[in-house]
Amino acid sequence: MAIPRLLADAEKGNEILEAVVIRFVGDSGDGMQLTGTQFTDTSAMFGNDVATFPNYPSEIRAPQGSLYGVSGFQVHIGSIEVSTPGDNVDLLVAMNPAGLKTNLYAVKPGHTIIVDTDSFSKKNLEKAKYDSNPLEDGSLENYRVIEVEMTSLTKEALKDIEGIDNKSITRSKNMFALGMVYWMYHRSPEYTIDFLNKKFRTQPLIAEANTKVLNAGYYFAETLELIPNSYTIAPAKMEPGTYRIILGNTATAWGFLAAAEKSGLELFLGSYPITPATDILHELVKHKHFGVKAFQAEDEIAGITSAIGAAFAGDLAITTTSGPGLALKTEALGLAMMIELPLVVVNVQRGGPSTGLPTKTEQSDLLQALYGRNGESPVIVIAASTPANCFEYAYQASKLALEHMTPVILLTDGYIANGSAPWKIKTVAEMPEIRNNKVTGNGEEWHAYDRDEETLARSWAVPGTKGFEHRIGGLEKDQVTGNVSYVPENHEFMTKIRAEKIKRVENYIPDLTTEFAGEGDVLVIGWGGTYGALHTAVKQLQEEGVDTIGFAHFNYINPLPKNTEAILGKFKKIVVCELNNGQFAKVLRIHFSRFEFLQFNKIQGLPFGNDELIQKFKQLLPK
């Protein structure tokens, strides 16, 4: 992200900033996710644009104070558009030495670190593998360090509350930190107080204690001379409407709920837990009241095959997984393609290959999604690009599957799935219509592979419909009767018609658009979850006066938008940026061999950083 510029020194001690990145870090038990979420929600309600990213330890109960037990939550808030959780941070709140040690690299020089000095005990320093106390050895000279005895101050604030145990007291120190940060950024603690009262409705003592500590932190910051400044971040210009902060995986789940309601079908999910896709299962199992049938199967194969069964029986059927799980679903996906049933397969990509980097993000399952099946077996492949638009693309995946009678693979990734951002809430009424191909009539003269002339989709006769009894299966079928056929010409015909059916989907998807320059020197190409980073970098260059760089981001990958070639032809250089070793670049080379596709790839399990993108793009731009 762009380094926030100082706009004006409105009043002494108060700076007005366009955007700021804050990271809360501490032990798994320190409540950092809650603290971060509260700051995010409060800022969003204030009108800021926000983007967040959590960083959990992979161990479930890592030893207290250890380096690998650090839990973090980063939030980027702005009065300007905010598209990523940000790279480097303006403020680090470190609740223990391990948190400081593992996150110091991200703090911009000269910027602020708040630490709980009480936690910098000899024992904790040792656990964090510090040889000397960083608060004393001068190693933090380049930062503005605010040392606060947070644990003691929390205890002090609660000394008058009777009947509260020690553990609850220390556990509320995150509220002290949050109170301080609220004061620093001119945020009212009211929203959080409300939240605490609701959350601890049945434990009024805990609610009271947390509120007390939150206020104590707030007033402590106000009176503290150590904090010379507070900062104002004005509301951002956002489209009017009702918003909520939504996680990518929740948005995906909700997109399916909306699609089921709109199409009038019941939603069936067959799934087997796998990081980082499991939260979609966690979300959908809650919604039995909408008739959602969420089935946790014995493995990924049963996840997809149960969904195929449900699709056969007339449900909107989906299965959710991540890379290794998609590999297991391969054979069944081929069956769904062959029997031409509607099915959505969500792959929340993570670092591969094999078990790879389960908790990190990557875009390396693209070729698996496109080609990872036996035989000629094309399916629709689309990708969401932000936490909020996971909703739109889950909806769209359902619509395409139902209207074109085909499996659709929806790619998201760990980065957008676990990130959150404001979502302008959509009502089901404002979503596009979803048709389905269910049969009508009495079944005379009907064959299972009769096709719609426009889309080539076959019709959908579900068990229970009188007169349409029929058999489908993985063996090749006669193009007319739908019976098993080994006739050579028929197989070739059917192979081509299945390919043509997917190709024709290009007539039903939006054109590719460019942002910033529509023609010129450099076209930046991305797909999926890298949208925020690429958009932010190109925008910064444009703001710096470069007006010959354009940006085209793909959400539709198979088939590609019809106007893709036309857009490629408008730029002198094309650079395809991906978090893999060049998979989409390969695909584009297959389709558009007359262009040269330069690549910018990162394969570290991490999102793109702004600086590396800017640097790369500058190299490509004319001097």
């Binding site: 929600d41 969003a44 309600m45 956002m238 489209e239 009017p240 409407g241 009702t242 918003y243 909520r244 902060i245 909700w254 709920l257 909306a258 309601e261 019941e266 067959g270 039995k288 009241h289 909408f290 008739g291 049938k293 089935f295 199967a297 014995e298 194969i301 049963a302 095959t305 149960s306 969904a307 195929i308 069964g309 449900a310 699709a311 056969f312 029986a313 007339g314 059927a317 069944a332 069956l335 809430i425 959509k426 009502t427 089901v428 009424a429 579900v462 068990p463 229970g464 419909t465 009188k466 349409f468 009894e469 029929h470 058999r471 489908i472 299966g473 993985g474 063996l475 019976n483 098993v484």
Partner: protein, 338 residues
């Protein structure tokens, strides 16, 4: 079991599809097909509500020959596909068609889990102790020493006993029947459909090409009466040409006793209780080598997955503040930008 009864009266031929049956002449698969086509009109189900789901194998071609809804799936996965069908539409009568390799080798995982869950499904296991479709390799039920294309010197892997595995995986209904006993088979199919829960029927199916005669010592007409005990719920476990032999319990072992010998009377013979929850005796019956026990060995009525799910869904619906997704989307922490 289907609640819906039909106005229409079906005949055997209503379930015969227009596809030419392609099994080898003499294969027991024909017997199973005809028995089921005969059983279906007796079940009171509507034809459009009947669904056959199979995996891959000779046996798994079965759905093509049935005029009903059907899916020829992928190898081993039929129980999972069927689970999805039944969860999507609980009103359907769903039948899984599988072979010994399909269900207990590649599909072993789905097989045990479908039994554990106890959905209201029927599973017909065509056990021919061989891989038929791939032309004669040993299967998980092939005997030690059995010579097959992939065990030319004799099979070294000990077999599963399907009933033992199934009851171990909590099968509530298990029946075993010879592939040459269409009358009894038809009756068992009807009972399986009536049973609420997963009903597993193992058919001892002769493969004339790759494992001919594998069950003859039990199933041949000449030896059948002496080697097989066809049991029925509530009846004494008697067998033999003159029903002179029966099973008694001696300590922890089943033994064959002859009425009139050693003071054994009709009263000493065990009476079959298929509905007993405790599977101990059912397991002993499954494992018995002489006589081979056939018929409905276990039929214990238990809560089905569907019943559990329905109850839970009704409860959640009653407690929920949401009726439309909009209610959910606008619930909780939202804010307005003007």
């Amino acid at each position: 079991m289907m609640e819906t009864t039909t106005e229409e009266k079906y005949m055997f031929k209503d379930f015969v599809s227009d596809q030419e049956v392609r099994w080898c002449p003499g294969c027991d698969d024909y017997v199973i097909l005809r028995s089921l086509q005969k059983a279906l009109p007796e079940m009171g189900v509507r034809k459009e509500d009947v669904v056959f789901i199979s995996g891959i194998g000779c046996s798994s071609r079965f759905p093509y020959y049935m005029d009903a809804y059907g899916m020829h799936g992928i190898h081993g996965r039929a129980p999972a596909i069927a689970t999805g069908v039944k969860l999507a539409n609980p009103d359907l009568s769903v039948w899984v068609i599988t072979g010994d390799g399909d269900s207990m080798a590649i599909g072993g995982n789905h097989f045990i889990h479908v039994l554990r869950r106890n959905m209201d499904l029927n599973i017909i296991l065509f056990n021919n102790e061989i891989y038929g479709l791939t032309k004669g390799q040993f299967s998980p039920t092939s005997l030690v020493g059995q010579k097959t294309k992939s065990s030319p010197y004799g099979n070294t892997q000990p077999p599963f006993l399907p009933g033992e595995l199934a009851i171990g995986a909590q099968a509530r209904f298990f029946a075993r029947i010879g592939g040459n006993m269409p009358k009894e088979m038809t009756q068992i199919f009807i009972e399986a459909e009536k049973f609420k829960g997963t009903a597993l029927i193992e058919v001892l199916q002769n493969c004339v090409i790759f494992n001919n005669g594998c069950f003859s010592k039990y199933t041949d007409k000449t030896v059948r009466d002496d080697q097989q005990l066809f049991i029925e719920h509530g009846k004494p476990m008697l067998f033999g040409k003159d029903r002179e032999k029966g099973l008694v319990l001696n300590g922890l072992k089943l033994e064959v006793a002859t009425i009139g010998e050693n003071g054994v009377t009709q009263e000493d013979i065990l009476v079959h209780d298929a509905k007993e929850q405790d599977p101990t005796l059912h397991q002993m019956l499954v494992r018995l080598e002489y006589p081979l026990v056939t018929g409905i060995i276990r039929s214990f009525v238990d809560v089905t997955l569907g019943e559990r799910e329905d109850a839970l869904t009704a409860q959640v619906k009653a407690d929920s503040e949401f009726t439309k997704t909009d209610d959910l989307f606008f619930s909780g922490e939202t804010y307005v930008v003007k």
